[in-house]
């Protein structure tokens, strides 16, 4: 089972750095795992925790959030705000039992095509090792049954 398991990973990335970095990885013909679906946003500051919950709700096994390095934000400080938010949200998820290993955060600049490809590979490997997020998927499955109690 775990051999054949291919995780579904959603990546929320900022368009100025990480997305361009992904582009660079592509144009440099770098090979990386195909498990990641990338969703491009104007800035990491736009990445609401709601997105992460929605991805989990739709059955994601892992989530990657990535944007410009501190100081490089196209909007000067969107990523600083995002950093605080992630810090808090990560603790919250951890406290409610959603393993923080499934939610990864990174800084990738437009020049870091290699880092992007490596990161995608390592994140995919990590999540693959963790296996499918069964606990959450059971909750999704349960929504088909009327509430009991």
């Amino acid at each position: 089972m775990s051999e054949s398991f291919e995780p579904k990973i959603i990546a929320f990335v900022c368009t100025y750095c990480t997305y361009t970095g992904a582009d660079l990885a592509g144009t440099s013909r770098l090979k990386y795992a195909p498990n990641v679906r990338i969703i491009r946003l104007p800035c990491t500051g736009r990445i609401s925790p709601m997105f992460i919950l929605k991805a989990l709700q739709q059955g994601a096994d892992g989530i990657l959030v990535s944007g410009c390095h501190p100081g490089d934000c196209h909007f000067t400080h969107g990523n600083y705000h995002a950093r605080r938010r992630w810090m808090v949200f990560r603790t919250l998820l951890d406290f409610t039992g959603i393993p923080s290993e499934r939610i990864k955060f990174s800084w990738i600049s437009a020049a870091e095509g290699h880092k992007f490809a490596e990161l995608i590979n390592s994140v995919t490997d990590d999540i693959r090792k963790l296996g499918p997020f069964d606990q959450y998927k059971n909750l999704i499955r349960e929504t088909e049954a009327p509430a009991t109690l």
């Binding site: 739709q58 929504t143 088909e144 049954a145 009327p146 509430a147 009991t148 109690l149």
Partner: protein, 337 residues
Amino acid sequence: MTRILLSDKLDNCVARWRKAGLTVIGPVKKETFSSYATVENAAEFDLGLVMPDRSIKGLFFPQTEPMVHYSIKKQAIETRDFTPPSEKRIIFGARPCDASGLAIDDPLFGWDYKDDFWFQRRNETVIVTIACTKADDFCMCTSLKLAPDSTKGSDILLRPLQNNRGWQVEELTDRGREAFKEIADLLQDGSEPAAAVAVVPEKFNLDACVAWLQNPENFDSTFWKEISMRCIGCASCTFLCPTCHCFDFQDEGDTFTGIRRKNWDSCSFALFTMHTSGHNPRATQSARWRQRIMHKFNYFPGKFNVNSCSGCGRCSRQCPVDMGITETLQAISTLQP
């Protein structure tokens, strides 16, 4: 001479019912919270509660329930019905107020269009009610012209024996008789007297309240604003109420596949009646509280000839700001009609 069910036979009864394919449900307390829940043996029951925190309503009208599964194909929409699951159930140890709550809502779910989600469960569930021998400050069934031993909505009524060893069995419906045939040999004849039912003082004069509510002039009374000023607009009263039946439809899923669900909704939410245009017929919390009281004691009886309240008192017991039907009706009964 009456038929008697002894407490020490209860576990056998549960086993017998389960063997006959019935799901056995009863009051269960887990840590700080009690509700009607499925049990495997009689030891799980907590029959000493005044009443479970949650009413019985959710067993017939769940807080959220899938109705239709849809999947949108290129030129067709495929749907799959969630017909109410067929499941024979017996609820042991229901409270008379909870059981009457179900009977109160029957005509509502049945008028003109029959809601099978409700009725299938109603038809397949046997309700064994135990008369109350204790009550708390919030119980008010007597004020609603019901009683701690009313039979409304029950299939079997059990009256606790004075010596606390068991219950007198009063069979009320065929459905009840059918379920008790399974355990006929576990019952015995006896003449032990039944314990006195709980004393629930009458808290307000219902007729006076109804007369006041029916007077159209009182609709615009300042009373409503005064009484509901501290209402915070949550739905704990309506959701715990055994008779509140308002609901909402919600579609959950993505563009191609998902489920249309029926969810509890509450008249105390501001968005409940809000039009898309922004106009809200019940724009203030006082209008919403008025709607709740009027609906229960004026509109509903006008349609179905029965008050939409069974006097369980959960609304007052659980209110975060200590409001509730009791306080409002007590205040109304002092007013001139």
